[in-house]
Amino acid sequence: MDLSNLMHNYPEAVSMILFAIGFSNLLLQKNLIKKIIGLNIMDTAMYLFLALKGYIVGRSAPIVTDGVQSVEAYINPIPAGLVLTGIVVSVSVSALMLSLTIRLYRRFHTLNLDEISTMLKKEGL
């Protein structure tokens, strides 16, 4: 297997490792707060990946400075726009998850989702 590409693209590899860490935390952690942290790591890894893909070495952010209008001077602005949209989505989703966590904590006095499920089964609601 050729690993030279991996060395060349190591920032992308890092972002994918971060994605995997976030994904598995969101899936496997029992504590709801840790799950939400996992969610944020996962989303941030994705933004890192997108930003990397839009970056072109030696160019600057696409804001016209000193009257330079040539395409060659700037990086690809679309991934940056996607990252901004993604951040908005991620913020609202995290806020919703946190508010759900508060609700659950007030009612069951625990952050462990499995314990909550067993409590509900005992209640027989």
């Binding site: 899936l27 799950k35 949209t85 009612r107 069951f108 409590m119 509900l120």
Partner: protein, 500 residues
């Protein structure tokens, strides 16, 4: 450009704005606004549908003033317009049918919030149906998830909050994978508009470049959307979410929310990746296997359930399995059967949820199986509606479920190694369906004297007029889908042709 062509865009905007407007309204006004908005959107969708049917070709609507590779677009064909119309009508019926429960189960100061969620849900569904841009699709997938979560937890008890949390976690895993898939596709092709991506994917596929990234992207998007639409084994949140939320929410969630994701997946298969590439990629085989497992396991879980609402919810798992099995066949006929099953399941499952709530109303609000004995006599219309829905799910001729089973069987025949597993799973699943649905129907019509027991009472169909009307309309919809299936199947075929 004719005025009709603006209507899809207007219907998305109208539903979005009525959502914001509801936030400053009281519960009653928000309810009226919601009703007016849904009727308006349904009327507009009907006009668009007739227009597209008349011209016989799809059109692209530019959002803003930038042309194809830069601007955002929505695209309207027969299938999109028809789906939008159908979703509007079913949602209208689900909301109307549950008015009494909404009034009783939702706190007064939160009533307008419920209608905000419904408006936003309709907006995101319409956008998912019409959009021609993958990233827009992702954003509306998230809006869809958030508003669905609101629908689950509006009835406040421990179960629904727990179910909403589980639903959010699963959905977020799914949307993470979907977003990653979209990022890969963007990096490989350099586009976000579906038609442009498809052109590039064709070139990439021909030259054999980027084989692995493309495969990974297809896999991530398929699995992400499969998780979000509760394909077995990602269904753990589903019975609680459908079983304990208010009846309109359960009906809307099972019949529409998961179908929005499925429709997006069909669009991705046809309009983004191209069906040839999908057939080569073998990702569909995985969907096929999980679809078949879902068909069987969902039905077995439903048999073991003693709570009628949860039983109907588990039946959804089985029906989603059918739809993914149709994808897995990877033929035109399979996809057509899946689309028809989307329609048929939406019409039937909302009918089942509404009638199940009518039945439990007459039985001291108990969802327990043994309290339902003779409920078919106490609430006659709900009993009949539940029987019709059950027969349709089992596949009784003249009802919509029969046609979808027939289409699945026809699609499976002659499909290589998939033929026998698909046919056997269809047969086994039908028998299992019959076991739990007929068991319930027999229970409903077993006479028992409950006259003296508290809470057990007769409900006449005029007592809850809106629900009776909604149930009658849904029964009619089932019959229309079952008896008039030929033109509908033709329209689906025409619409799929426009996808290419």
């Amino acid at each position: 450009m004719q005025f009709v062509q603006n209507l899809p865009f207007i219907s998305i905007i109208v539903s979005l704005f009525s959502g914001s407007l509801s936030s400053i309204m009281g519960g009653k006004k928000a309810k009226r606004l919601n009703l007016a908005m849904m009727s308006l959107v349904a009327a507009m969708s009907l006009m668009v549908f007739l227009f597209v049917l008349g011209t016989g070709e799809s059109y692209v609507y530019m959002m803003g003033h930038f042309p194809a590779p830069w601007g955002n677009e929505i695209r309207i064909g027969v299938l999109e317009a028809g789906m939008a119309l159908f979703f509007c009508v079913v949602m209208l019926l689900c909301v109307i049918g549950g008015y009494q429960e909404q009034a009783a189960e939702i706190e007064d100061e939160k009533k307008n919030l419920y209608y905000i969620m419904i408006n936003l849900l309709l907006c995101s569904l319409l956008a998912l149906i019409y959009t021609n841009d993958l990233f827009t699709a992702y954003v509306f997938v998230e809006i869809n998830t958030i508003s669905a979560c609101g629908l689950i937890m509006i009835k406040q008890n421990g179960r629904t909050i727990e179910a909403a949390t589980r639903y959010m976690i699963m959905s977020l895993l799914g949307s993470g994978m979907l977003l990653l898939g979209i990022c890969y596709l963007y990096d490989v092709t350099g586009h976000l508009l579906m038609s442009n991506i498809k052109e590039q994917v064709e070139i990439i596929h021909r030259t054999g470049q980027y084989r692995v990234p493309l495969l990974v992207a297809v896999g991530l998007m398929s699995v992400g959307l499969a998780i979000k639409s509760a394909l077995f084994p990602f269904h753990a949140w589903l019975p609680d979410a459908y079983g304990y939320s208010t009846v309109s929410s359960a009906a809307i969630l099972s019949s529409l929310v998961s179908k929005g994701y499925i429709f997006l997946l069909i669009k991705i298969f046809y309009r983004v990746i191209g069906f040839d590439v999908i057939q080569d990629s073998k990702v569909v085989n995985i969907l096929f296997i999980f679809g078949i497992l879902g068909m069987i396991m969902g039905s077995i879980s439903a048999i073991r359930e003693n709570n009628i609402r949860r039983m109907v919810a588990y039946s959804s798992v089985a029906q989603i399995g059918y739809i993914y099995m149709g994808f897995g066949l990877a033929t035109e006929a399979g996809i057509m059967a899946s689309i028809f099953h989307v329609l048929s399941h939406a019409a039937t499952k909302s009918l089942l949820f509404l009638s199940a709530s009518g039945i439990t109303d007459s039985s001291n609000d108990s969802t327990d199986f043994f309290d339902l004995t003779g409920a078919g006599y106490r609430n006659k219309l709900a009993g009949i509606a539940f029987t019709v829905g059950s027969l349709s799910m089992v596949g009784f001729p003249a009802l919509s479920g029969f046609i979808s089973k027939l289409l699945f069987a026809q699609a499976a025949i002659g499909d290589g190694w998939k033929m026998f597993p698909a046919l056997i799973a269809l047969a086994v699943s039908t028998v299992l369906n019959a076991v739990y649905f007929m068991k319930t129907v027999i229970r409903l019509y077993t006479p028992e004297r409950t006259a003296g027991r508290e809470g057990f009472r007769e409900i006449h169909m005029t007592e809850n007029r809106t629900k009776s009307a909604a149930m009658l309309c849904l029964v009619a919809l089932n019959l229309i889908l079952g008896l008039g299936s030929a033109p509908i199947v033709r329209m689906i075929e025409q619409g799929l042709g426009m996808f290419a």
